[in-house]
Subunit: 129 residues, 2 copies
DNA sequence: GCTTGCTTCTGTAGTTACTACAGGATGCAT
DNA sequence: ATGCATCCTGTAGTAACTACAGAAGCAAGC
């Protein structure tokens, strides 16, 4: 059995976050030792890692939980998984498009600034309607 | 004088958000009518629009406020503005790079899914270490 | 003058996903 | 026995809003 600190190291999820996940019912309640400390099995470490990987990919906790549940359920999991994945992909692509526009606007703004005029073109740009 | 609903329409900032900005000291307290309703001038509408534009560009409220203050202060505003702009630009570029990686990973994940195998490669990928 | 319906008011709580304590107990090595 | 690391619970804070509830005001039509 693995203590919470070790579980954190093994999974990459912080101690506070593990406790938070338990509190919120995102993972099931950990078994306790005689003195009340949480103890984890390899299975639970894998579960934490799974959630962590989903979060790194930008899935919401809600989606991560859904995916984890699907990982246990056998039938037509793949379809649902693909749906979640595609949805998330298009969200990511939308965000990418937005950020690209943003980058362009900022590059222009800052480039104007660099010309060292007496009044500030970037502020003027922000003020303009 | 302009009521809060009209101010919201003119600036694109929601009523609740305008009140929130006032509560938090992000904008100054609005003048009140005899009956206690908030009243706005054109100047204040412009201020709201300025903040809104900064927020749309992804600046934090804190940065937006700093920029607005600089817009009123004359001397060496431009330098500070450029610093804030460049900093924000590199943040945006970092985020862009991250999202591009993410997109690539998701495209691969979902592409595997589409092959219609019996078990789900996307789940397997998430489970794998 | 009264009703109807829209707008506004204050105050509070909820959102997302954590993070950061405080204050106290436990485990382990010396 | 002492010291230090680790762990516990419970609470509050973060960013930037959003969403009510319940009451009051305003403008127009009858």
């Amino acid at each position: 059995m693995i203590a919470i600190g070790e579980a954190s190291r093994l999974s990459g999820v912080s101690i506070e976050t593990i406790r938070y996940y338990e509190r919120e019912g995102i993972i099931s309640k950990a078994v306790r030792t005689a003195s009340g400390r949480r103890a984890y099995s390899d299975t639970e470490i894998s579960e934490l890692r799974f959630i962590k990987r989903c979060r790194n990919l930008g899935f919401s906790i809600q989606d991560a939980v859904a995916l984890r549940n699907l990982a246990d359920a056998p039938s037509d999991a793949c379809e649902t998984v693909e749906r979640l994945g595609s949805k998330h992909l298009s969200d990511v692509q939308a965000k990418l498009a937005e950020l690209r526009k943003l980058e362009k606007a900022l590059v222009e703004l800052v480039a104007n600034c660099a010309k060292g005029q007496s009044d500030c073109p970037m502020l003027d740009a922000l003020k303009a309607r």
